[in-house]
């Protein structure tokens, strides 16, 4: 098919008049059965480079994509054009996914989007035997490189697959963000016979700003005072999940129209928020960087980062989602440059901590290796055998698989990890190399913050792009700086907010009469944690009175004037009578009688000893009882404890009290930890 013929088809199916030259070059190569790496900026029209040939091929085109939101958007768009497209991912039910697989086998589909993790699924692998395959596409191809900014272990298998494909099978890899190093790595991984097409990455409709602040509070205040002055709607990226919650509550408190989004939300809610974003339902969505990748919204007018990303590539990738319509778009980055006692800048700490915590210690690697040497183990069994967190076990597993030390083997429906005969020694040199790379990337990000020349030029150069001589679109060139200048009024509002903001505890579960509870504070975010720590571990005496005031305030906010029959407290493991004494004070103030009948039927270890939820659950499972069952039957009770971590203890007691007839169990906690596992 020549370009002229192709453009006739293009008009018929997609309604576009012509291809860009770069698009046609790509498509032409694919028609010839070649392998292509396409690096073009967001908004270029990369999708058409595989969607169009897919409609012309006889069989099925499979698109591996890490972006669920993108799959949904693109499939909807294709279906509207009358193209048979579907997707397979975790957002759909197993039945829906099975139906899609069946459709693919029955040759009812032209285009199938699929998450790379699916390559581990046996139903899928089995089904691929019966599909007529025409082309394979890897979207967001930078994720296949460990040198890329968002490496995903699941893509390793896709790369292996690509290497095993027959010759003349067209393969397209696309990305909007690849440094030269990543480009070379991707080329090497896919094929020696790959053609790379690279476009210009400059985004001249951006207005780039960096705002230097002296505290976390200044960020909250600047946003409060200025966000409604920014035109259009946009995204606010906070570095952590907890911060999406705090920022979001703050805006709520000020009646600024925002919502929060993070990976902790269920699929249904996330989908609703994505739809709401498309419809400009909010001024801003406060989110971790999980949102926005691949969302097909051309008029995101601003993107604000409250924390610096890990590198200039991360930053380019994340801001790249804005302003795809080419209209002026504000790109703002906050940086708190206050130095602590050790002279380290505050906002350097979080990304540095991610690098330091990115890999577990060598000892932990050896723990996993030794456990798997002993017998075939599943993931949970590894966690139990090693007392490691799920996140750590996953990192270690991925590394060990990558290095060929263990393999993931599927027997029947279950995944087991097996040590390999003649497995190599663990190669830690690769880890150190990667760590050094990440540190130097972070240093480059700091460089961007402190830059006095064109910011866009810096980003393009960093990405290995051919840079135009002059790019003027930032606060260092032609735009007026944004400055942090807190107003007294806003400072007062923030203080009030802090005293009235209480994190909720999600513990409701089927078959238990426990309700979602309330905590007076986060453990790590305030002085509350310090006070608790002093009393518990430094013999600081009873919990101080300001905690009582705060806890009571949290209680009133959540439960108001609701009547409770009784207050019970979690029997302690190691902190003596602190919890009991505090509960007695609560009982006196609230005028709710206290009961001392909630007991441990068996000794438990302190929950903090255990690194993962399964062991925490095991530690408390069946370990609590009630001394006088008659007393609790039909009663609604407040369940008090000092610290809430995984929630395993509170949930276990909730179940036990429910089984003994309690009608309602309402948790009340002094502080909730940040980033509890599982």
């Amino acid at each position: 098919m020549n370009r002229h013929q192709a453009e006739i088809e293009l008009r018929k199916i997609f309604g576009f008049e012509k291809f860009y030259d770069e698009q046609w070059d790509t498509i032409d190569l694919l028609f010839k059965g070649e392998k292509v790496l396409l690096i073009e900026k967001t908004g270029f029209g990369k999708s058409l480079c595989f969607q169009f040939p897919a409609t012309q091929f006889e069989g099925l085109t499979i698109i591996f994509s890490p972006l669920i939101a993108l799959m949904r958007d693109q499939v909807n768009g294709l279906v509207k054009k009358g193209i048979n497209a579907k997707f397979i991912n975790s957002e759909q039910t197993a039945e829906e996914n099975s139906q899609t697989i069946q459709d693919a086998k029955d040759a009812k589909l032209k285009i199938l989007y699929i998450a790379p993790e699916r390559q581990e699924n046996q139903e899928w692998i089995q089904a691929t035997r019966d599909m007529n395959l025409s082309m394979i596409v890897i979207d967001e191809a930078h994720t296949i490189s460990v040198w890329g900014h968002d490496f995903r272990p699941a893509f390793r298998r896709i790369v292996n697959l690509i290497k095993l494909l027959p010759e003349k099978m067209p393969v397209l890899a696309t990305t909007a963000t690849a440094t030269k190093r990543v480009q070379i790595d991707v080329e090497k991984q896919i094929s020696s016979q790959i053609t790379t097409l690279r476009g210009q990455l400059v985004r001249d409709n951006f207005n780039l700003y960096v705002i230097n602040v002296n505290s976390e509070d200044e960020k909250l205040i600047w946003l409060a005072e200025n966000i409604n002055k920014l035109s259009g709607t946009g995204l606010i990226y906070t570095g952590t999940r907890v911060n999406t919650e705090i920022y979001s509550r703050w805006f709520e408190y000020l009646n600024i129209n925002t919502t929060e989004y993070n990976a902790g939300l269920d699929g249904e809610t996330r989908k609703d928020i994505e739809l709401g974003l498309m419809a400009n339902k909010w001024k801003a969505v406060v989110s971790t960087n999980a949102l926005g990748m691949g969302i097909d919204k051309s008029d995101i007018r601003f993107i604000i980062h409250t924390q610096i990303p890990a590198s200039p590539i991360h930053y380019y990738q994340e801001i790249g989602r804005a302003g795809r319509d080419g209209k002026p778009t504000n790109i703002i980055l906050f940086y708190n440059s206050t130095r602590d006692d050790k002279g380290i800048e505050e906002d350097y700490k979080l990304p540095k901590a991610f690098i330091d915590g990115g890999r577990p210690s060598l000892k932990k690697y050896n723990k996993v290796i030794n456990a798997v040497k002993g017998e075939q183990l599943g993931e949970r069994q590894i966690m139990k055998a090693t007392n490691l967190k799920q996140t750590q076990v996953r990192v270690i597993k991925a590394d060990l698989i990558e290095q060929g030390i263990i393999k993931e083997v599927i027997y029947g429906g279950s995944k087991k990890y097996e040590y390999q005969f003649d497995a190599p020694e663990l190669n830690t040199k690769a880890f150190e190399e990667l760590r050094q790379l990440k540190l130097s990337e972070l240093a480059s990000m700091i460089e961007y913050v402190n830059l006095s020349t064109s910011r866009m030029q810096f980003l393009c150069k960093y990405l290995g792009d051919d840079v135009p001589e002059i790019i003027e679109n930032c606060d260092n060139t032609n735009l007026e700086e944004f400055k942090s200048n807190p107003q007294y009024n806003t400072i007062t509002q923030l203080k009030e907010f802090r005293e009235n903001y209480f994190p909720e505890l999600q513990v409701e579960s089927r078959g238990s009469n426990i309700v979602n509870g309330i905590s007076a504070s986060y453990y790590g975010v305030s002085n509350v944690g310090i006070a608790l720590h002093r009393s518990k571990y430094k013999k600081g005496g009873d919990f101080p009175d300001f905690l009582l005031k705060l806890t009571l305030k949290a209680y009133r906010k959540k439960y108001g004037q609701e009547h409770f029959d009784m207050i019970v407290y979690v029997p302690p493991t190691e902190s003596g009578d602190l919890v009991k004494n505090f509960a007695e004070k609560l009982s006196r103030v609230l005028k709710v009688p206290i009961s001392h009948n909630l007991i441990k039927t068996e000794e438990t270890k302190p929950q903090k000893v255990f690194q993962n939820g399964f062991l925490k659950k095991d530690n408390v499972s069946g370990k609590f009882g009630y001394r006088n069952i008659e007393e609790i039957r039909g009663k609604s009770v407040i369940l008090f404890d000092d610290i809430f971590d995984s929630g395993a203890t509170i949930k276990e007691i909730g179940r036990m009290l429910t089984n003994n007839g309690a009608s309602k169990i309402a948790p009340l906690i002094i502080a909730r930890t940040v980033g509890g596992d599982v």
Binding site: R129, L161, L164, Q420, F421, D422
Partner: protein, 386 residues
């Protein structure tokens, strides 16, 4: 057929190898002839699949029927890629006949007519290069055969020889257990696809990761056990070894035909010299040229053989019984027919009563009642070496 490959280029060929190895209705010989031809022309299997149709006909002698089958295989190549990726990811090895990892013994013994173009393994591949033995015999072997098996496995393990077995009951299981007991190395040849051996991979996990066991299959990876596979596996076992030890053989069945075939091919076959009271065909195999060995698996001297033979040649007390059983292997008969044909001095009733108590005899219900021998119900095995 020895060529050096680097791993990546070899891996790139694997989908093509699966497509060739699992082609339906094409003989192994034909497949191997294509491979030999490619080797001679210094071409790869990829070149073959992508070469011109005319080339297939003129150069590789592919007829119209085969053409259709090969064309279908081309369309399935990418599907095989998915399968290969999954198998490699799970730690299985896929070894084409041209790979330096392929067992040289298997290639030599089975030749181009029967050597499988592709084998699947899990565990220590180096074992395929070691000197190896098989101990064969019945699934329902006598104590003495099991003792012999244990002795031979012990001796082999001491001499660093690999014990190859088929993971069946009786002699097979004893051979494997003994090899492991004496810290020797073993190859388990599966009567099924490699990825369906879940319980075995669990049971022998330690030995596999320590390099003492290699599990091997020549069948489609997901294929489940079947009688046909169990029969087809036997030639692979015989092919994988330098020496074959026979613990016990009847004068029919897999062991018998395998050994007889091996003798014709001039293989090293050692047969346990049986005691006088044993009812098996071991002596018959020795007469056909197998080397007699004692209970320890050591060769017998001429004198020892003479002594044993003189005992063996004494009249056998159970002649009538043996005659009846032998006769039954030829067909399905009534007791009366047996008495009439064999002209023995038994009543039909006595024959009926005797046959009802034989474990290898099947009663065919009806009037009059008939009898059949189990050996007859399993299809005769194909010959091993052409």
């Amino acid at each position: 057929m020895e060529v050096m490959f680097n791993n990546d280029s070899m891996d790139k060929e694997l989908a093509y190898w699966l497509a060739l190895a699992h082609l339906p209705k094409v003989r192994i010989k034909k497949k191997n002839e294509i491979i030999v031809k490619l080797f001679e022309e210094q071409k790869t299997i990829i070149d073959f699949f992508h070469s011109d149709k005319n080339d297939w006909v003129s150069n590789y002698d592919i007829d119209d029927n085969e053409m259709f089958i090969f064309e279908k295989a081309i369309n399935e190549l990418s599907n095989y890629s998915f399968m290969v990726e999954d198998l490699l990811e799970q730690g299985y090895s896929i070894i084409p006949i041209t790979s330096p990892d392929y067992s040289p013994i298997l290639k030599k013994n089975l030749g181009r007519t029967f050597a499988p173009p592709l084998i699947y393994t899990k565990g220590n591949k180096n074992i395929l290069k070691e000197s190896s033995i098989a101990i064969v015999g019945s699934r329902k072997a006598d104590e003495i055969s099991l003792e012999f098996t244990d002795n031979v496995a012990k001796k082999a393990s001491k001499e660093y020889k690999v014990v190859v077995s088929g993971f069946a009951k009786g002699v097979d299981k004893q051979a494997l257990d003994s090899a492991l007991k004496y810290k020797g190395q073993s190859i388990i040849v599966l009567p099924q696809g490699i990825s369906t051996f879940k319980s075995g991979f669990k049971k022998y996990y330690k030995q596999i990761i320590e390099g003492d066991i290699l599990v091997l299959s020549t069948f489609f990876p997901k294929a489940h056990w079947s009688v046909q596979f169990a029969m087809a596996r036997n030639p692979i076992i015989y092919g994988l070894v330098n020496e074959i030890y026979v613990a016990e053989s009847s004068s029919k069945g897999g062991t018998w035909s395998g050994v007889v075939d091996g003798l014709r091919k001039g293989r090293n076959i050692y047969v346990r010299k049986p005691n006088v009271i044993e009812k098996n065909a071991n002596n018959l195999l020795i007469q056909k040229g197998a080397i007699p060995v004692n209970l320890e698996g050591n060769k017998l001297s001429y004198e020892q053989i003479e002594t044993l033979n003189s005992i063996v040649s004494e009249p056998d007390l159970n002649t009538e019984e043996e005659k009846i059983i032998e006769f039954l292997k030829k067909g399905v008969y009534t007791s009366k027919r047996i008495v009439d044909t064999l002209k023995i001095n038994w009543t039909s009733r006595k024959v009926t009563s005797f046959l009802k108590h034989q474990k290898d005899v099947i009663i065919v219900k009806g009037k009059p009642m008939k009898f059949a021998h189990k050996d007859r119900t399993i299809h005769a095995q194909k010959t091993l070496f052409g």
